[in-house]
Symmetry: C2
Subunit: 340 residues, 2 copies
DNA sequence: CTGTTAGCGCGTTCAA
DNA sequence: TTGAACGCGCTAACAG
């Protein structure tokens, strides 16, 4: 069974084993694998047959070292579990795969310190590019990135002064658009629930957008209509109940985070509150499930997948030397459904 | 601004630049980074200061090549978007990160051919281990793995003849347990809806478990109570409606796939069917959302996160030479809630 | 505790 | 169209 093993310990064959078997030099094997058209058909066939027979798997680690190139992109997301990021991940993984490149993935747990450590580790692995969801970074992280000179793309928001490239939508613009939309549908007392704005810039931007909308509508900023909660379905439910007892005249709540809106909707169902009769509910991201709930939920549609795809493409363009540093605002869409 | 750059083009400093700056040999720098306790405090400080000052980032690619070790694990999941896999991913990413290792991620799109290509690519990247969700593989994939001699862990099911290690639960046992549970609660006509059993072994195993349960209960196998559908919320809704028209006396449906049960529940809400009055609904995976719907959904709880953690740990143990090939059945749990 | 020598498995650069 | 020499940046194995 194991007789075919080329080296003891199952460590696999090296290129020179192939060369020997095919009766050619190392370089010919190398070329047969990378630029087969440059060899005579005969030599190429001999070599490729030997490769197959021996079961040679090239060592791209060694290739990278020798050529000073890399085929790995590093991507850091705040949370691997969050399906919103999974969408973006899927986009970049697909593009990279098609280009014969690879994705190294890590999870910063929403921490800048952790992100810094990960950036260091990825640079040590000589990734050829970095995709970062966060737009806030430690000074050391910025310094490492600059020194390494690798292309970087930020995807979580449109930062004022990007490190390098950007592919995102604007959290502030999106939140503003939804609040204006709710006002246009006649809601007067619009509540706003988000994640912690102190530690999460995206939440902060969304709040900013919401407040900007209120201002442009001539509506007052009312603290009883603003709230910040942790992530999760339960948080959304609590936030709704709390706000409705603090401000009984609230007629719509805009949940600017993850699954908060769904949690609130389920709680409303449980209590028999009519949505949108008693309270209208709007969400931020267009999770699949939002169009199936009863009632279907109004929300923003964000180009998560597209962000992943375009990020990877921009990185590839830069690695290949074609293509400039790109700043993409991929926009968003307000999806009006039954819940508002 | 860029004056601090050590080499033109921002390619970063090498170890020998650090050695020169610190006035020591290459090896001393190498040791200062990897086994600092073996150096005198003075030398160590000199070197580490130089490292910091120059902003040296080690090249682990070169280190891997020289030491014939790797700090990267490859993980292949059927679908990156599927939040069930995200859970497993999170588990392994956390463990690996703590151990200073890295995760290379790819998506096979439920295809064995694609999996084979990815395994080849990962082996070329000299990953030190492989985590595979699928338990079906092409002959070439198996051959490559054997030749490479890297540890592998399969996580999607408990295969009859594993490649190497396993950390999973048994799909057949889990499905059987749920059907028995429904029967114990008095349901007589239990429908079963799964994903395509022709292309998906896990779906096949679940069906097998369900049928085994029916048999042990002395219930007949009734084709009108079995159905296979594509993934997605809508599929679940359709499957329920179809089955109830084909077999109006069905009193419970066990949805053995993803979000099918949720789709069905929403459809029931929409039509005003009482759950479990008119029809009882059970799901397979314990998605967060299942405990918040109205009614809360009965389902199986599977150790997705734990599978990821234990996989990574088993791999690490093997890489470090401590630890045997492990076969873990991590079990499951039936969660009885309001929907049955 | 520190340094020297000899590669790791390839790609680049030249020459044939 | 093919091959030989050299080096990528680092570590293992030894010597001192």
């Amino acid at each position: 069974m194991a007789e075919g093993r080329v080296r003891s310990g199952g460590q696999g064959a090296r290129m020179r084993d192939v060369a020997k078997a095919a009766g050619v030099s190392l370089m010919t094997v190398s070329r047969a694998l990378r630029e087969p058209q440059r060899l005579s058909e005969e030599t190429r066939k001999t070599v490729l047959d030997a490769v197959k027979k021996i079961g040679y798997v090239p060592n791209s680690i060694a290739a990278n070292l020798a050529s000073n190139r890399s085929s790995v992109v590093g991507q850091i997301v705040p949370s691997i579990q969050n399906s919103l990021y999974a969408e973006t991940l899927k986009g970049s993984a697909d593009v990279l795969r098609t280009a014969g490149m690879h994705l190294m993935l890590a999870d910063s747990g929403y921490s800048m310190q952790e992100e810094e450590a990960l950036i260091g580790a990825f640079l040590a692995q000589r990734v050829c590019g970095l995709i970062l969801h966060n737009t806030d970074h430690t000074p050391r992280a910025l310094e490492m990135i600059e020194r390494a000179g690798v292309p970087v793309i930020e995807t979580g928001d449109i930062p004022r002064s990007p490190i390098d490239m950007v592919a995102s939508y604007s959290n502030a613009e999106a939140a503003k658009a939804m609040t204006l939309h709710l006002a246009a549908r006649g809601y007067k007392r619009i509540g706003f629930v988000s994640l912690d704005t102190k530690i999460n810039r995206r939440a902060r931007e969304r709040l900013r957008g919401h407040l900007a909308a209120l201002k442009s509508l001539g509506l007052p900023k009312d603290a009883s209509l603003l709230s910040e909660v942790g992530p999760g379905l339960t948080s959304g439910a609590h936030a709704m109940v709390d706000m409705m007892s603090r401000a009984p005249d609230v007629d719509a709540i805009f949940f600017a985070g993850d699954v908060l809106a769904i949690g609130a909707l389920f709680e409303a169902q449980r209590r028999g509150w009519k949505v949108p009769g008693r309270i209208a509910i709007a969400g931020f991201d267009d999770l699949d499930i939002l169009q199936h709930t009863v009632p279907r939920l109004t929300c923003l549609r964000l180009p998560r997948l597209e962000i992943g795809r375009r990020s990877a493409e921009a990185l590839l363009d830069r690695v290949r030397g074609t293509g400039d540093a790109v700043r993409l605002d991929l926009g968003f869409e307000v999806i009006q459904r039954e819940s508002t």
